[in-house]
Amino acid sequence: MQNSHFFVTGDPMIYGADVSIALVSVAIIFYLTYFKKWGWLWREWITTVDHKKIGIMYLISALLMLFRGGVDAILMRIQLAVPNSHFLASEHYNEIFTTHGTIMILFMAMPFMFALFNIVVPLQIGARDVAYPFLNSVSFWLFFLGAMLFNISFVVGGSPNAGWLSYPPLSENDFSPGPGQNFWIWGIQISGIGSLMTGINFVVTILKMRTPTMRLRDMPLFSWSVLSSSIAILGVFPILTVTLVMLTIDRLLGGHFFTMTAGGNPMMWVNLIWMWGHPEVYIVVLPAFGVYSEVVATFSRKRIFGYSSMVFSMIAISVVSYYTWVHHFFTMGAGANVNIVFAICTMIIAIPTGVKVFNWLFTMYRGRIRITQPMLWVMAFVPCFLVGGATGVMLAAAPADYQYHNSYFLIAHFHQVLIGGVVFGYIAGMYYWFPKIFGFKLNERLGKWGFWLWQIGFYVCFMPQYALGFMGMTRRIYTYNDSMGWDMGWAPLNYISTIGAFLMGIGFIFQVWQILYSIKHGERDVTGDIWDGRTLEWSIPSPAPAYNFAILPVVKGRDAWWYQKEEMQKGNVHKEAVKYEPIHMPNNTGIPFIMSVFWFIAGFGFTFEWMWMGIAGLIGVALTLFARSFQYNTDHYIPVEEIEKTEKARKNYGSVHRTAN
């Protein structure tokens, strides 16, 4: 491969990005070296197996990727704002929507979700860590290096441009030669393996690591949502892995799974990728449902309404979501019977989802609603998701879908459920648990600016797109009014939509500002229970100590901490002398990071079809696995003195239970 092909050239924006990436890298390296922070970085972060720190790293990565995906979105909207625009060339536009979709789902939503998993679940179930701390670290680094591999396609080799699900034969060698498509495959493959491991990890964590007195039926709903989401991950991520392997076999070894020639069948890809792809959206939305349940109960000062049907509906969603995938290709010729069955399955999944909305509403009913930042996002979610869900049911009606499919109606629908359902939920979760993990609250005023800009921006951006769908505008076109003499009247609505995108972008800037501002000025959480919470994570100090719980909590029912506080107020608490025991904790380890670097090397090698490098990377992976297998000294005990010291330093906290009115 020639040098001029290795580096992406040709566009001033790309050169600009090259320069800024180089500058930022130099700045980071300088900072780390000058302040002698390399050791700190290695000891405290890269080798950590602490679920809270891993959660923080997921959160930071997710926000970075939200930025990158958002910039892509803005570029697309600029291009479409006016007809016949030449801001972006066709291929550049294609690359941008491909990376936008891929990044937002796989490298933004997934890590954001895993951030919440990691930060919240062990604290909520009274555990000191996840079931497999080592594996947890492997998962993170696989995700992170997979995401980096995908992202460097921007500057080396060229970005993928066949759409976020890369339908063959377009994504096959014949139509998309070169490393761009391979970046897509390997970036997703590597991080997808990490996601699968996280799924296993959290299923076992929730089943086996709960504090012994917590029964499953008393478990907080967020943890239930994580369980159902993780079960869905286990059910579908293997399919993604294999489907990507198949495309790799086609591209790298000359196979014919999905080619047009030699009997390959592109429809098979569409079938398999949506077997993963549809449950995937439920995977990301279920934890958001969990967040809503926690936030609504806390800020209505009321028990969650209909706990059992909430649990049942989540499990139902995670299983039924497995039977809806064909609604993504009703128009592909699978026949009327297939379409009818999958249309009805798709509609059925709306039932448990709708039930959840009712239950949230009736949790607020006869409660006392405090409109805090997390609650604001939940309240924005309800109407947004209702409409998004309704358009989803409209799309499920197969023959109507023939008219919506691949049009801007579809685009508007899935942004409405993915932003209104998923992103709002994750942001609510971030605001809600931020004090727990960092020890301070995020500034309300800046947050409100961010909130309203997001809200207005969202409706301004996406409502016109429903209309554009009815006007016959199809997705993924980089320009319009340009050919065959058609002017379909799409221009004004597109212009408005672009304004909305900018508003959301400004909203995001406010949120970044809010975080930076609050690091210094945010309200400190001294009680550990800043929201007057109901579940166990609020019973420990903020930020949580490394071992989470000095003594494993006793749970007598749902909302354990809430009732414990009530008991405390009534004075029914028998004070006993505290007697700590040494706590068993896993050791830090560099192996996950090193192994993931080898994966990165392998992925990079296969991307450029340098087999020697790919195989060398895989051998490295095998060697690190082998090395780990021989590590026996993988844990340590925190001595009692140290626990006493830590707990003493925090003795001053103690929550005051504030009853309503």
Binding site: A89, S90, G306, H405, R475, G489, I496
Partner: protein, 335 residues
């Protein structure tokens, strides 16, 4: 053709309608200027265009297929609204009534968290609504697999999506067109779709919903125009660089005009040869073209070479006329 910034590998130089890909001289600054100036004007226009019903082509069908789909859309909107609107109302009411503010006298029952009656209601209502919508959906789905009217003899139009153009072949008339199709009004048309390039989707919103064009598959789509007119069609599934330009025209004319048009093409247009098709199927754009004939079995060859031989659908690829395509439908029913 001047493809701009072929960063990498695309170095093909076909010569058709180069203008589309030539970078204009609009700089970003100029663009912002234009944007500023047109901001208010456009906002106004948008509001106006919102009232202009004719732009909403999906909601303004010109044939029975599109009409049935519109009916289903309306039914689904109504059924969804039955749930959405009351829920939104309840939501607003609850948020206002139960806000935590001093002196709020609304009841506060922090322990009230169960009600069998309420749960039955909101599991029940959605189930009923889904059942109703499910029935309509199933009915329409089955209806659309049949010709829209029974008493008129249908015609067959074979559609092949290419990079980045549409080819229409008429097995009855043995003529071919590119990027436009003419059909007789009031006659059911069975479009039989395939692709000799990455899959696309054939969509003429005012006649009815879309269907993918898949390499190696020949799939039928019934459409019909009730009146004469010209309808916008486009490719709806992304196929790469020239995808945005894959728009075409479907013109519905009276049966007589249709026959005349076909005869005119037969007489005046050049023939599509094997070589010509090879050239046509290369990546690139094309304007509207007409051909007086095409190589025998062209469509079948396209389907078969992309994997069609592995499926049993030779019988209704259309070359034996609409009659055989009808009989093959019956075969399908038996399956």
């Amino acid at each position: 053709m001047v493809y701009l910034n072929s960063t990498f590998y695309y170095h093909d130089s076909r010569n058709s309608i180069p203008l589309y890909f030539v970078k204009g001289d609009l700089t970003l600054r100029k663009w912002i200027q234009t944007a500023k100036l047109s901001f208010l004007a456009l906002l106004g226009m948008a509001l106006l265009s919102g009232c202009d019903k004719s732009n909403f082509i999906v909601l303004n069908p010109k044939g029975p297929v599109g009409q049935q789909e519109l009916d289903l859309i309306i039914i689904s909107v109504i059924l969804c609204a039955i749930i959405i609107l009351p829920v939104l109302g309840i939501f607003v009411y609850i948020v206002i009534r139960y806000r935590d503010k001093p002196g709020n006298k609304a009841p506060y029952q922090p322990e009230w968290a169960d009600s069998k009656i309420l749960e039955v209601i909101w599991w029940g209502i959605p189930i009923i609504i889904v059942a109703i919508l499910g029935v309509y959906t199933a009915k329409t789905t089955i209806n659309l697999t049949k010709p829209p009217v029974k008493d008129v003899k249908p015609i067959v139009v074979q559609v092949t999506s290419l990079d980045w153009k549409w080819m229409f072949t008429y097995p009855d008339k043995k003529i071919a067109t590119v990027n436009y199709a003419e059909i007789p009004a009031g006659v059911p048309v069975q479009f039989i779709l395939t692709s000799d390039a990455p899959m696309n989707s054939f969509w003429v919103p005012q006649l009815g919903g879309q269907e993918y064009t898949m390499p190696g598959m020949a799939m039928g789509l019934w459409l019909q125009a009730d009146k004469i007119g010209e309808y916008f069609g486009s490719g709806a599934n992304f196929t790469g660089k020239g995808f945005a330009h894959m728009q075409f025209r479907v013109k519905s004319v009276t049966q007589d005009d249709f026959n005349q048009w076909a005869a005119g093409i037969k007489k005046n247009s050049p023939a599509l040869t094997d070589k010509g098709y090879k050239q046509l199927s290369k990546p690139g754009l094309e304007k509207e073209l007409s051909f007086s004939s095409y190589p025998k079995g062209l469509y079948e060859d396209i389907v078969n070479k992309n994997g069609g031989t592995y499926y049993d659908h030779m019988s209704h690829m259309g070359d034996m006329g609409s009659q055989s395509s009808m009989s093959s439908m019956k075969m399908e029913d038996k399956k």
